[in-house]
Amino acid sequence: MNGHTTAEKILANSADLEEVWPGDHIICKVDMAMAHDMGTPSIIEYFKEMGVENVWDTSKIVCVMDHIAPSHHVADADSKVSIRKFIQETGIQNFYDVGSGISHNILPEYGHVRPGELVVGTDSHTTSHGTFGAAGTGLGYTEMAYVLATGETWLRVPETIKFEFRGEFSKWVGAKDLILHIAGEYGTDFGQYKSIEYTGDPINSMELDDRFMFPNMSVELGAKFGFTPVDSKVTDYIDKRTDTPYKSRDADIDASYSEIYQMDVSSISPKISIPHKVDNVVDVEDVENIKLDQVFIGSCTNGKFQDLKIAAEILNGKQIAKGMRLIVTPASRAIYSRALKNGIIDVLTDSGAVVTNSTCGACVGRGMGIIGEGEVCLAAMNRNFRGRMGSYESEIYLSSVATAAASSITGMITDPRRKL
């Protein structure tokens, strides 16, 4: 077999090499670099320490104020002052201030991501861009300072794992349940240092909003990259947003994989990840009596238009349980605006939900839904590590939006298939 996986093809191109193989360490040219408000203050310091005056390419850097937005500590407000000054000084062209939304949703929305490209960001969920055929991966702040100065980074070419899905999901079961099922079956480190390709009819028939789940949560499986196939849904979306030419680099038919998994999705039931690890996965039936203080629907993972639409479908004409909070955070202003025009925001607020501005917010424990000691939150987001949403003595359960919305009506973890 002489073919190459998506990751190998993108990395060979970015390193200006004929071909690359897993295990090669290569220097890659970056197509797009993203930094957010939590990382940028350190990046600025390192960048200055390097003694560099100009960033490598002002058009290829995107800066997003999404993590602590709006600021609620003076220190965070001050750091945004320094970021805005840096953007002005360097002439970085793509700056998205507080309220624009979460970087992973904004980059594709505003045409900063194309198939075949290498995207790095100071955020682990940068893997999301594999939805659009781009190799996206997270870096730290020192490495991002280096990228801003040089446009380059080193990468080890990863082995690739392939998932081949078949069958049809049952009603109220979908992408989130499947990715949690995979985490539960194989663990949160089985994809370590690797790339994952997700294929098959269940993926092909999904809306991009739902496909996004797989590249996005690939980092929860330890992976460097995650990809879903590039088809006309992807190219239609991209072509509306960018004039920059691109070349899709989908895997060759004879590519070599380190592992191939086949899975029928029709038998999957709604899944719950219980505290404090993403791979502590059970069926919803096993934890249905757990009482909740808060339900959260949001983050790059679950704050998309399709997510809000499902939440509204379930909550339409209903009230959330007494003594419980429902926090909904659309992932971007564009999503918020579309949901507003479709009457979704009305349905959610009428049910008793708090709809916040677009931000990472509660998912990253920095506002808009922090939980206190002894509290239990069911969250349609990506991580349930101890202390992530606030108190170390709180508990986070993860689920799909359908399960979260159904549970917000009863005030306890509820199987969406039973409730509806």
Binding site: H73, D76, E143, D189, G222, R386, G387
Partner: protein
């Protein structure tokens, strides 16, 4: 290099290494390192001590505050059964030694003195006399580490 080992479990996330609330701008309050699982760690250890952990150390977010807090607290190296890739890169970028050693937690207990050879990846447990084979950092990126991190490496090589 040698130091006293402090043992941690599997899947120690960056949220657990330094809860996000202790980072504002570029200020990192390292005194709270490992707070959710081992409060008081920064006060309790001596400079040069080492962290020994199970698999998937540093999983979760890409926050560099996690390896920086570990480094600032005085820890001289982290040995783990495996590392999350972003944490691993970040540690190299800031010059914090990271060694992968399968089943290390079977051979090292809290308070043992361990000695690490960064070139070979061999770890000697001075308390028990057991020698454990670890993996040194990939040759290709060792020059970054040897320079003292990526920024220093850049300054050394920019001309």
């Amino acid at each position: 290099m040698k130091g006293i080992a402090h043992i941690f479990g599997e899947d120690i996330s960056t949220d657990v290494i330094l809860p996000t609330d202790y980072t504002h701008g570029s200020t990192i309050d390292y005194k709270h390192v490992f707070d959710p699982v081992r409060p008081g760690f920064a006060d309790e250890i001596e400079r040069g001590d080492m962290v020994v952990a199970g698999k998937n150390f540093g999983c979760g977010s890409s926050r560099e505050s996690a390896p920086i807090a570990i480094q600032l607290s005085g820890v001289s190296a982290v040995v783990a059964e495996s590392f999350s890739r972003i944490f691993y890169r970040n540690a190299i970028a800031i010059g914090l030694p990271v060694i992968t050693a399968k089943r290390i937690t079977d051979f090292v207990s809290e308070g043992n003195e361990i000695e690490i050879n960064l070139d070979t990846g061999v770890i000697l447990n001075n308390t028990t006399g057991v020698e454990i084979e670890g993996e040194s950092m990939p040759r290709e990126i060792q020059s970054i580490f040897e320079a003292g991190g990526l920024i220093k490496h850049y300054k050394l090589n920019k001309d």
